[in-house]
């Protein structure tokens, strides 16, 4: 269980670090929150004092810190402050509406991306050094390195603005209908963002799958299977791929952090109403509570996904249990 312990300790440190960054960052930033709210609404100076009292900003730092921890961990739903831009709404309320769309994009693109990667890797393993492998390799390097936000802009331009096949923004239309029509509308709106994200998932995972597959291909049991005269397809699907699955699961859980980062950019381009879209509004409106909350929430998503991935990994690979 050493592996799991290690991962859990890592997650605890990550969470602790993010909590502290979330708390201290805005308190060291130029200007205080009360002035910013008061300034934004052009209230007189006394107002900023009232606001400071209202949000507890006149309390000593230690009191604020423990109040903050209490609000995050011991309150349900967790209280992350009030948004400056959408004033009466709390950050938690804003997230609750949007987190589902973000999850949809992430899960769909992991599903599509890893599915395609699996078959690309299988066909590549069947004919080593063939045109298919070289093509997959070059396109993976390309999709892994080029800026995803630019790729998304090009996709949006070609397929939505010029060809008009897909919507320009949003997760649903203005009147999405109900039942099957609703789901079709959601899928239609998700096609381009999921396609863009999947391409980058494929780029990242194929390179790792290929590396681990090379190792597996050189192993004795593959040689033995080959000499028994098994077909290429059975060889690659049963012997090679199954043993290359471990790194694939590992890469999903390890790359979640970077996937969520990229997902934010994709949401912005496609005007998709998830956390990323909210985050960018928060940058422009200097909405600090939302900014901090996004950092905390995305970290928690990464950790949750990571724990699921790690548990699957220990199930798949009994060596990790020792």
């Amino acid at each position: 269980m050493k592996f799991l312990y290690r991962r859990i300790i890592t997650y605890i440190i990550v969470l602790f670090a993010v909590i502290n960054i979330t708390f201290f960052l805005p308190r060291f930033a130029p200007g205080n929150a009360a002035d910013i709210i008061a300034g934004a609404t052009r209230l007189p100076n006394e107002a900023s004092k009232i606001i400071a009292t209202r949000f507890g900003l006149d309390q000593p730092l230690s009191t604020q810190y423990f109040d903050f921890l209490k609000n995050v961990f011991l309150t349900w739903p967790p209280y992350l402050g009030v948004s400056y831009n959408y004033f009466p709404a709390t950050v938690t309320q804003l997230f609750a509406v949007r987190v589902g769309w973000t999850m949809l994009l992430i899960l769909a693109s992991i599903g599509v991306g890893e599915f395609v990667t699996y078959f690309m890797a299988a066909f590549s393993a069947m004919r080593r050094g063939g045109k298919f492998e070289i093509g997959s390799l070059y396109s993976s390097i390309m999709f892994n390195s080029i800026p995803l936000f630019w790729l998304s802009m090009i996709l949006l331009y070609v397929f939505s603005i010029v060809l008009g096949w897909f919507p320009i923004f949003g997760a649903t239309g203005f009147s999405p209908g109900s039942g099957v029509n609703y789901y079709l509308d959601v899928i239609w709106h998700a096609v381009l963002p999921v396609a863009a994200l999947s391409l980058s998932v494929i780029g990242e995972s194929f390179l790792i799958m290929r590396g681990s597959m090379q190792e597996v291909l050189k192993s004795d049991y593959v040689l033995a299977a080959k000499s028994r005269g098994l077909s290429n397809w059975i060889l690659s699907s049963r012997y090679v791929l199954r043993n290359s699955m471990l790194p694939l699961v590992a890469v999903i859980s390890f790359s979640l952090a970077s996937l969520i980062s990229r997902e934010v950019l994709v949401e912005v381009i496609f005007g998709y109403p998830g956390i990323g879209d909210l985050l960018v509004d928060a940058i422009l409106g200097r909405d600090f509570p939302v900014l901090q909350g996004s950092l905390l929430l995305t970290t928690i998503m990464v950790i949750a996904g990571g724990i699921v991935g790690d548990i699957i990994l220990t199930r798949l690979d009994p060596r990790l249990k020792k």
Partner: protein
């Protein structure tokens, strides 16, 4: 030490060298374009030199933006901050990763610390951290570079640490120890040169990532937008021209950014492929 010599299949050697050549060719063409460009382009990137929002024409090969700036001039002059800051971040991240990997791999007591720290950094949603820090502090180029260094050192450190902890068991390290070299001398004189090539491979890969990340946060409006760079060009394009159909404003800077990142990634990939101990068998 037969295992040190790379013994590779013809196909993969062919592939590797071809990818490296392809990547180097891309980088050389782009660097040439950027270095020679200023001699031929006489419009300043912030000078109004034509009608706004015009598609490419002989006078403005990449078109003009919403204020009538020449996009080609912006792309050429905007390359400098993009590439220079990307290189600064990559140099810092590689140096930090190299030192952390060396010491973490060699000294058993530091191993837990270094590998724990890399795990923590790799599980961070780094872009969102960069955005939050950048937005709250109204980031300068330096602040973005420093945060990038703190994010990007971990991948290199992990690879170098793994390599160091296998190298340190080789017979010549024992020989050095018995001949009376101190740990410090062994780390710097004997082990560092062994893993230096991995550091170079990671440096090239990190350049590719840092340029794209820095442009990505600028694209979101975080960072120094008053300076013309590929990221800020794309930011203004997204804000003021893209949805009206000004494709040329997005195409040229983005394509150069993509090609640069891909060129470095191809070179880094080839290096890594040659050096990766797992693939050497």
């Amino acid at each position: 030490m037969a295992s040190i010599k790379p013994k590779r299949g013809v196909v993969s050697r062919f592939l590797v060298s071809k990818a490296a050549k392809f990547g180097a060719a891309i980088i050389i063409v782009i660097v040439g374009f950027i270095l020679l460009g200023p001699f031929f382009i006489h419009t300043k990137p912030d000078a109004v030199s034509g009608l706004p929002n015009r598609p490419p024409s002989p006078a403005h090969p990449f078109g003009t933006d919403y204020q009538g700036h020449d996009v080609m001039s912006q792309v050429v002059f905007g390359a400098y901050p993009t590439l220079i800051w990307g290189l600064i971040a990559a140099i810092g991240a590689t140096a930090l990763g190299f030192v952390a990997g060396l010491f973490g791999g060699y000294y058993g007591r530091l191993e837990v610390l270094v590998s724990g720290a890399t795990d923590v950094v790799l599980s961070f949603p780094s872009l969102i951290l960069l955005i939050t820090v950048g937005a709250i502090f109204e980031a300068s180029d330096w602040l973005i570079a420093v945060v990038l260094i703190l994010i990007l050192w971990a991948t290199g450190a992990r690879a170098i640490r793994a390599q160091v902890s296998s190298v340190k068991n080789f017979a010549y390290v024992d020989a050095a120890k018995t001949s009376g070299l101190t740990d410090w001398q062994i780390v710097w004189r004997i082990i560092a040169p062994e893993v230096g090539s991995i550091a170079i491979a990671y440096f090239v890969l990190i350049v590719s990532v840092s340029i794209v990340l820095a442009a990505g946060v600028e694209f979101l409006g975080v960072g120094n937008l008053s300076e013309v760079s590929w990221g800020s060009i794309l930011y203004f394009a997204q804000q003021y021209g893209f949805f009206a159909g000004d494709w040329w404003w997005v195409l040229a800077p983005g394509l150069l950014l993509a090609l640069t990142a891909m060129g470095f990634a191809l070179i880094g990939f080839s290096f890594e492929e040659i050096l990766n101990p797992r693939l050497r068998k």
